[in-house]
Amino acid sequence: MAAMMQPQIILLKEGTDTSQGKAQLVSNINACTVVADTVRTTLGPRGMDKLIHDDKGNVTISNDGATIMKLLDIVHPAAKILVDIAKSQDSEVGDGTTTVVLLAGEFLKEAKPFIEDGVHPQNLIRSYRTACSLAIEKIKELAISIEGKTREEKKSLLAKCAATTLSSKLIGGEKEFFASMVVDAVVAIGNEDKLNMIGIKKVPGGSMRDSFLVDGVAFKKTFSYAGFEQQPKKFLKPKILLLNIELELKSEKENAEIRLSDPSQYQSIVDAEWNIIYDKLDKCVQSGAKVVLSRLAIGDLGTQYFADRDIFCAGRVSEEDLLRVAAATGGTVQTSVNNVIDEVLGTCEVFEEKQVGNERFNIFSGCPSGLTATIVLRGGADQFIEEAERSLHDAIMIVRRALKNSTVVAGGGAIDMEISRFLRQHARTIAGKSQLFINSYAKALEVIPRQLCDNAGFDATDVLNKLRQKHALPTGEGAPYGVDINTGGIADSFANFVWEPSVVKINAINAATEAACLILSVDETVKNPKSESAQGEAAASAMGGRGRGGAAFRGRGGRGMRRR
């Protein structure tokens, strides 16, 4: 090797992998198209689900673009960008993740022949960006505001949006049922912008229809000690004390030590310890609370002490649930039982412990501040409930966004067709190459109705032609026409209440364009060999994430906020 150690050959470190030029760009596009193809079939109400089996043997069945993208564990640097935009769409609007990936893939696919023909990518990028801003303007123009309606009207409008989202999911069969549940939950938390105030609890067994909404908090009964049975299980308007301390016999402080010179004192020390715990319990009782919850353990002694005094208690309540109870009942979590004033106690209409499936649930309903809601999901299989939870999360996000932005557009591919038509029309006014590029952008947008048809088993070309004809009507009355998934023809999506919040579409088009432009603008990839420490790191995370962004590919736990 020493003989070939000519320094000029090794400009970069050994093991560095470089590729550049048109071929590299085309290969990036191909990689992205492949990724888009995998999620393609999940789009729309008739989209199919994917079963993903990971290396740990976990099975996930999902129809949610972001979830699938995350579980795919993509290592190709360009294709990773698609995962990123799915993630971004998920965090920004919560739904439309499949759409965004599909659009980006389609934009790139349309760009490919131009690149192969020798068009400079920058020309394409510039046209795509123009097209994107035109499209967004058009959406804003077409959007219909739901502002200024009464609460009831608004609710039914929001339910329409939620139903559109849910129709493409596993629980689509019960979309009205869940849509109204989601809307009630979101309206309940009001303007307070906290997603974690909506809890989703999963109980296997029963049917979807058995799912219910609690206008307060519900959580699974915690581990309980002897004496629990004697406690009352139902209260009306109880006062609720929330604690962050242990009500158990234990050493007071880690670093305290007792040294006695006189054995006779021993009993007094034992008594003192008992006194301390009795004192704490007594203070809880004196506060007037009928329900005592603690984040930490409540031991045998405490359980029985409370049972004797007709008080309900639960220890080891998870922090999230405790905070939700605090927000719902208007109480504050106490770290000390001294000086418990009435102000820090919460209250609710009804507290009860109920049997749900084969679990017991503690349910606080009719909470005064009304800032929380809990959906208890029922269903057959674990995977089914998991997917239902993801679907509900999407629906919740959609309703929240719709509530915030208050404008909706027609779904079912109608808005995409309309933008496509508008861009084609606009393209004709441009002289020069960008006419072609904007036309191809417009064509790419048609992928949404096309895929909807394909997934439903309709003749896409036929339906698209009908749609084009409608949208081309000079009066503009055909603008809200989209694919009718029930009949296989076309229908006025707006009249059929297939609605989407406009922000979903705006964000999807924007993110897809940004991603497509980013991929088009890359003409060279340089991959440095991994340093040793990084290799160890990569092996540890086993997912080949990338530094800080690695969390995105860790599969579970990524979309943590929907976990409960």
Binding site: P7, I10, I81, L195, E273, I276, E524, V526, P529, S531
Partner: protein
């Protein structure tokens, strides 16, 4: 075989290269390779590079400084170019690409001269004359009246910043520039922060006078307005001894009161803070549960900022003095905020600290974008903008952009070269020719016909229209002063100077002697991928 000559003097395993062909030409080759990589990224229409560094982090950028930084260039001569680029990045913070690409071009032209038979020293002397003349000429090209500017005038700032930002994010400079320019009077690079939040698009980006912390408040109070702030660097908790200590308890009474005294102590401290008038407590370390309990009780908002730098900036934003430990704060040490609120942006809960009043000079640009790589790239564009702002505070003179300056320099230097006697003439002519690289690359990257553009540019300049450059929007030549494309004089000055210096340094080398790499555990050794 018995080693002889230089080989006998050095330890086995060294490398030794000398002579024109082996050393100089090969060095030039390496530099050329490097500059080919960066060159396609030059200008607004430059292409991005995807660089995956040794930590497996993906960069998608056209910022030359980032590219060469992550490339891990190994070749010693090419490294000199990288260093020149870095020097430019540190001096100005922008124009690193110009430095590297121009140096590469100078060397490429030098190679031709060497093949013609010129000695490197003659080339160096010619290049030196060239750069001295260039700098003289550059000064003449400065736009009249631009040496005085009001750095607080947003319009003027944007004019000067536009080209720098546009070269990173073409088509988005109109959104980015105002974000950067919209900064308080008391300017300092560290005072402009960038918060990257995934989701949305660039048009959602905003500027906040104050800070954006990427975590939510600790307690349940999430929003407060017009409040005084107490900052504790050492954490809000009961103080514990550093040395391991054990509390000895002698009697039952002591045991019973042990917990109570601790509670009372914390309450007293928190009450002290409340009495001083503070409504917000900021902790630099952990917030104890007991302390949090009393903060909630007294309705204090609690923030945790674990980074020391962030805490220092927070103090600067609010005008607070950080106190080391939890104590009764002096009213003078309290800071003030207009509002502190926890908001949800794109699914992330962030704390927005706003302060318009007082000497607050910290502002944060909240960038939105759909992927991490876009956000990173936007951040670099903002950084370049900020650095340009810094540079223009030093020297606000500007020269025409869009390659107009380069063409003019090429023309003038060529003329100057013709007057020189001796072999320098060739070197100066090549030096002048190297300037053509800029318009050529700009045109090529934009998909235009480079030769046609250059020749027409020369024609225009020969007629005295020295402000004519390339209009990349339309792909024609135009008066750039009408398009408002200006480069900072100081950026150009240093970029050209560093490039010429680097090129001369590389040319001056005629021998490369590499000692055997030191023994010991080598990094690459266990990595089996070298072999296959």
């Amino acid at each position: 075989m018995q080693p002889y000559g230089i080989q006998s003097m050095l330890k086995e395993g060294h490398k030794h290269l000398s002579g024109l062909d082996e050393a100089v030409v090969k060095n030039i080759d390496a530099c050329k390779q490097l500059s080919t990589i960066t060159r396609t990224s030059l200008g607004p229409n430059g292409m991005n590079k995807m660089v995956i560094n040794h930590l497996d982090k993906l960069f998608v950028t056209n910022d030359a400084a980032t590219i060469v930084n992550e490339l891990e260039v190994q070749h010693p001569a090419a490294k000199i170019l990288v260093l020149a680029g870095k020097a430019q990045q540190e001096e100005i913070g922008d124009g690193a690409n110009l430095t590297i690409s121009f140096a590469g071009e100078l060397l490429q032209n030098a190679e031709e001269l060497i093949r013609m038979g010129l000695h490197p020293s003659e080339i160096i002397s010619g290049y030196n004359k060239g750069i001295i003349k260039t700098i003289e000429l550059l000064e003449d090209l400065v736009e009249k009246g631009s040496e005085n500017m009001d750095v607080r005038n947003k319009e003027e700032v944007i004019t000067r910043m536009k080209a720098a930002v546009a070269s990173k994010q073409f088509g988005q400079e109109d959104i980015l520039c105002p974000l950067v320019a919209d900064n308080p009077a008391n300017f300092n690079v560290d005072n402009v922060r960038v918060a990257k939040l995934l989701g949305g698009g660039l048009y959602n980006s905003t500027v906040v006078r104050g800070m954006v912390l990427k975590n939510a408040a600790v307690g349940s109070i999430q929003r407060i307005e017009k409040a005084k702030v107490a900052v504790f660097a050492g954490g809000v908790d009961t103080s514990a001894t550093e040395t391991k200590g054990t509390v000895l308890i002698h009697s039952a009474d002591q045991l019973e009161n042990y917990a109570k005294t601790e509670e009372a102590k914390v309450e007293e401290l928190i009450r002290g803070v409340v009495e001083s008038g503070a409504k917000v407590i900021v902790s630099g370390a952990a917030v104890g549960e007991m302390a949090l309990h009393f903060c909630e009780r007294y309705k204090l908002m609690v923030l945790k900022i674990s980074s020391k730098f962030e805490l220092r900036r927070f103090c600067r934003t609010t005008g607070a003095v950080a106190m080391l430990k939890l104590c009764h704060p002096n009213p003078d040490d309290l800071g003030y905020v207009d509002s502190v609120s926890v908001e949800e942006i794109g699914g992330v809960r962030v704390t927005v600290v706003k302060n318009e009043e007082g000497g607050n000079s910290v502002s944060t640009v909240v960038l939105r974008g759909s992927t991490d790589s876009i956000l990173d790239d936007l951040e670099r564009a903002v950084d370049d903008g900020v650095n340009t702002y810094k540079a223009m505070c030093k020297d606000s003179r500007m020269v025409p952009g869009g390659a107009a300056t380069e063409i003019e320099l090429a023309r003038k230097v060529k003329e100057f070269g013709l007057k020189e006697t001796g072999l320098d003439q060739y070197a100066i002519a090549k030096f002048a020719e190297s300037f053509e690289m800029v318009p050529k690359t700009l045109a090529e990257n934009a998909g235009l016909n480079a030769m046609e553009i250059i020749s027409s540019l020369y024609a225009e300049h020969a007629n005295g229209n020295y402000k004519v450059g390339i209009d990349l929007e339309e792909g024609v030549w135009k008066d750039v002063s009408a398009l408002n494309i200006w480069d900072l004089y100081i950026t150009k000055f240093f970029a050209l100077k560093f490039a010429a210096d680097a090129a001369c340094t590389v040319l001056r080398v005629d021998q490369i002697i590499m000692a055997k790499p030191a023994g010991g555990p080598r990094r690459e050794q266990p990595a089996g991928n070298d072999e296959d």
